[in-house]
Symmetry: C2
Subunit: 196 residues, 2 copies
């Protein structure tokens, strides 16, 4: 069965790929808006880890909509959620038997409810799989320590290919760096450099 | 990391074991009340599939409490949920680094909420993992078809070692066969006979 996994090059989506590879023919799919070249970092990690890789172009209108939402809210959660749902819809319409992401049990964003999962499956005739949704934060950290080599640092310094990077670039361009600092609380990101 | 997986010999808990075996030192743990010898079927399946096996004795008072609850409700859901929570507490107190079960995304019973999972982890210093909670019914069925040999049949004919079998035996003994038919709607169970 061909499975498309939404992939950022970070620890969660890489661990999700390792969990699924014995059961599915996994392709790492990095969805992007064409705003930055950050997707290339995900391709490098995919090559390092030996998985197939595909780049998937998203609707730039959704990036604009997400930025508008983030400006309105003053925080990024709902905007990122919007992009994640659009990315899942896009990969589900792309011919895979199953689609997956790296969302964890304890994630606040993005989240995919049972009803949303069922709806995605019914409309596209695919299985939606969230292999980390039964793992808490500590369990994920312990598995990552045991299986992956990672670089950790603040969001603005780490090269990876999640939607946040492109939304940040779009906001910096349209609203200035001050808006970025105001709307995106500082947090750590990871970039996977290898599988042990 | 040593992981204890609540195990019935059915397809869900066997698939959960296969998903976890690359990352954990998995022991299949069959929890029972000492009412029937059904746990032996789980041991046979564990031997067939090559996993370590442990039998774990539960508090018989919880079986009585569950049967009282089922009689009161007229359906088995809450009684089975009660036993599952007790079994998770018991295995979590048994020295494993992580505990797991075979609950799926679309299961109505047993279920373990995020708050319950967190509480179990905090009180016992373990990780709680539900490896199938990110898989829907169809995804599980497709993986089972691809990886396991199973026997399917009505609950009363299939030899497996879930709590239902022992609760049924206790109810048949205390309340008679009529009560069983009344409280437990007919449904299919599976017993795993091998890994492909």
């Amino acid at each position: 069965m061909r499975l498309g996994l939404l992939y950022s090059g970070g620890k969660d989506s890489t661990l999700a790929a390792l969990l699924l590879r014995e059961f599915y023919d996994v392709t790492l799919v990095t969805a992007h808006f064409g705003i930055t070249d950050d997707w290339e970092h995900a391709r490098e990690t995919a090559e390092t880890t030996g998985f197939d890789f595909e780049r998937l172009e998203l609707d730039p209108g959704v990036a604009t909509e997400a930025v508008d939402r983030i400006r309105e809210d003053g925080f990024p959660r709902n905007g990122i959620q919007l992009v994640h749902q659009h990315a899942l819809e896009t990969v589900a319409a792309n011919g895979f038997d199953a689609v997956a992401d790296g969302t964890r049990r304890d994630d606040r964003v993005p989240t995919v409810s049972r009803a949303q999962a069922q709806s995605l499956e019914d409309r596209h005739g695919v299985d939606y799989i969230a292999p980390l949704s039964g793992f808490g934060r500590n369990a994920v950290d312990r598995l990552v320590d045991a299986t992956l080599d990672v670089t950790v640092g603040p969001s603005e310094e780490i090269t990876r290919a999640d939607y946040e990077a492109e939304l940040r670039a779009l906001i910096a361009d349209r609203e200035g760096e001050r808006a970025l600092e105001q709307w995106f609380p500082a947090h750590e990101q990871t970039h996977v450099t290898g599988v042990r």
